[in-house]
């Protein structure tokens, strides 16, 4: 019974058992599937993915867990189906990375491997959708790390993992509104819980290939699990309380129009899911008048596999059960929060200086945390910068001064801040600052980011157009007060009394055959016709360049150009 290490054979039994439990519950998982597309195939997809994983693992026979995990992970990747399948393959890809070199693993290593699986899975997505299998995996892995220091028994650890996974699953409707609306927990998350459940069965020695035993066993799990999520809703709030699901075997004589049926069903129910196939339509609907629903749908053909349930009834049971569960779980929750406060700082933050709402918006949209107002004539003080940095809850904060006059203040701010690492990227122009901000990647470490951001500054060419405030002579160009100056980087390269001419001349100097992109930030006082003339000019003379015009709204500079 008691187990301290898992080896390759154990692992194989675990995944076989996990796949088995999942297989017995495919329909249950399918019926929960409302996100990302409510096509009721999550269970099927996960099952196919696992089946492929098992094919690969069964072709191997080794006590080396690293080798077995690798085979399984490869199989999952090859057979990945659907979002949940791809996520599953990533979870085990990370898991495999962690155990690759090992013959067997103990609880600490097991928990670490679960965590690495989660890390890998999260890296593969731009916008993790919380309230899905990702969340369930994340929260249970985190709990595993915590528990792994308190026990050396794998079974005990897994029990804790499953209990946390179930709680996490129960919370998914609070994270993903579409789940709440449909009154279900996440289907992929449910699938993961089944897999974990299979793991523990195998370790306890309860794993038989006999489907029936596992089936009843997991059936019981199914009915208990998703419920606490719904206990936050009063029973009476369930307005349409008959949950109906069935198939219409479409009759040849009747023309089936999905939108018509949908509209009619909407009049007498909600949470409608219609999945038409060639000659079948799967119907899911919540309604108070099940008879009307049946009368309405029977016109299209024969109805099969009817399930009608009273959700208020179900709900009453849930609420009662949830009450008793909660008492047991309060201990764990308090314990956990005291160890790991939720306010973990993020890794990277950015502060930048900009003038003009348009430009500031662009900075914010690419993830800059704090945009200070400032520029040529109004520089933020060291204190302003310190305050900005302090307001960001991050381990490392990058300052992008975007002006040579502010770099020094930024350096000083860096020396004044003690509780976080401040890195100044010496950007001298707005385009440089934008390039640097875009280059920041969460997955890199701070040194790497600093290097990349500094490189980004080199790669962009900045230019601007502004008005001369006095007569002068510079670089052999004579300038009169009121002339428009074309400035490339920080050098005046051209001047004339006409804004379009100056801008054209400046662009001619800036653009080289290697460039592919021109971004124009228009100042607050720019006239639209001038901009149009300028764009026409660029389109005509540089047909290969892509142009983007952004209303920067900056004062002083009529145009800021960025050429890449």
């Amino acid at each position: 019974m008691s187990k301290v290490f898992i080896n390759g054979t154990d692992f194989m039994n675990m995944v076989l058992s996990g796949a088995n439990v999942l297989h017995s519950n495919v329909e249950k998982i399918n019926s929960l599937n409302v996100f990302p597309v409510p096509d009721g195939d999550t269970g099927t997809n996960m099952n196919m993915t696992l089946t492929s994983g098992i094919e690969y693992i069964q072709s191997k026979s080794s006590d080396h867990i690293g080798e077995m995990a690798e085979a399984f992970s490869k199989g999952l990747l090859m057979g990945a189906r659907g979002n949940s399948g791809v996520i599953l393959s990533q979870l085990f890809r990370g898991f495999t990375k962690a155990v690759q070199e090992r013959n067997e693993i103990n609880v600490v290593q097991f928990a670490a491997a679960l965590q690495q699986g989660v890390d890998t899975a999260y890296q593969a997505v731009v916008k993790p959708i919380e309230g899905t299998i990702l969340t369930v995996a994340k929260e249970s892995a985190k709990h595993a790390l915590f528990i792994s220091h308190q026990t050396d028994q794998v079974i005990e650890l897994l029990e804790e993992v499953i209990s946390e996974a179930k709680q996490s699953l129960a919370r998914t409707p609070d994270l993903l509104p579409v789940l709440k609306q449909a009154g279900v927990v996440d289907s992929g998350g449910q699938g993961l819980v089944f897999i974990y459940q299979g793991f523990i069965e195998a370790l306890k020695g309860n794993f038989h290939v006999d489907n029936e035993i596992n089936h009843t066993d997991s059936q019981q799990i199914t009915t208990n699990k998703p419920k606490p999520a719904q206990s936050s809703i009063a029973t009476e709030d369930i307005t349409h309380f008959y949950d109906m699901e069935f198939f219409i075997h479409l009759s040849k004589e009747v023309i089936f129009d999905e939108s018509v049926l949908r509209k009619k069903l909407a009049e007498i129910g909600d949470s409608i899911v219609l999945i038409p196939d060639d000659d079948f339509v799967k119907v899911h609907v919540h309604s108070n008048s099940p008879g009307d629903v049946l009368n309405l749908t029977i016109r299209y053909g024969e109805l099969t596999r009817l399930h009608i349930q009273n959700m208020r009834d179900q709900h009453r049971e849930i609420v009662e059960e949830a009450g008793s569960i909660q008492e047991n779980e309060t201990f764990n929750e308090i314990d956990e929060t005291s160890v790991e406060p939720n306010l973990e700082p993020k890794t990277f933050g950015m502060v930048t200086v900009s003038s003009g709402e348009g430009i500031s918006d662009v900075f914010r949209s690419i993830g800059v945390d704090y945009v200070l107002f400032g520029g040529q004539t109004m520089n933020p003080s060291t204190e302003d910068l310190v305050k900005a940095v302090e307001s960001i809850h991050a381990k490392y904060v990058f300052i992008l001064p975007n002006n040579s006059n502010i770099i020094l203040a930024a350096q000083q701010a860096k020396d004044l801040i003690e509780d976080k690492e401040v890195i100044v990227i010496p950007s001298k122009t707005i385009p440089q600052g934008l390039s640097a901000a875009l280059a920041l990647q969460d997955m890199n470490d701070s040194d790497e980011n600093e290097k990349i951001m500094n490189q980004a500054i080199q790669d962009v060419h900045s230019g601007c157009v502004t008005i001369a405030i006095r007569d002068s002579q510079m670089n052999g160009i004579s300038i009169n007060e009121g002339d428009y100056l074309g400035i490339q980087e920080n050098q005046i390269v051209t001047a004339s009394n006409e804004i379009v001419d100056t801008s054209k001349e400046l662009l001619k100097q800036m653009i080289t055959p290697d460039n592919e992109m021109l971004t124009v930030f228009t100042g607050e006082s720019v006239i639209v016709q001038h901009t149009d003339l300028l764009i026409q000019f660029v389109e005509e003379f540089y047909p290969d360049i892509e142009i983007e015009v952004i209303e920067g709204g900056q004062p002083i500079y009529d145009y800021i150009f960025s050429v890449e």
Partner: protein
Amino acid sequence: MTIQLVNEYGKIIMTSEVIATLAGSAALDCYGLVGMASRSQLKDGIAELLGRENLSRGVLIRQEGEQNDIHIDLYIIVSYGTKISEVAHNIQNKVKYVLNDLIGLEVHTVNIHVQGVRVSQ
């Protein structure tokens, strides 16, 4: 290009920008996509701020054929180690579903152009 829907009260006219943004947002919901890429196949630059506001830049909407069918091209970057064909398939599925669900638009084709792979570590 605009899309017109007619009902008993009048017309609803939507620009392709709207559709592009919806399609882009829907794609972002899919696992495995780590970014939208420039559709011009130029190197990404400042103009390619593919944050939420600009994600439609990686999306191209075309109306072609006799039926004026809607074709969508999505230019994406995926994560290394995912099954690219499946990630793409999930996105096609999701985009088609969302457009049908939100604006009743039947999309004819959703083409996925994988413009890059992000390799981390």
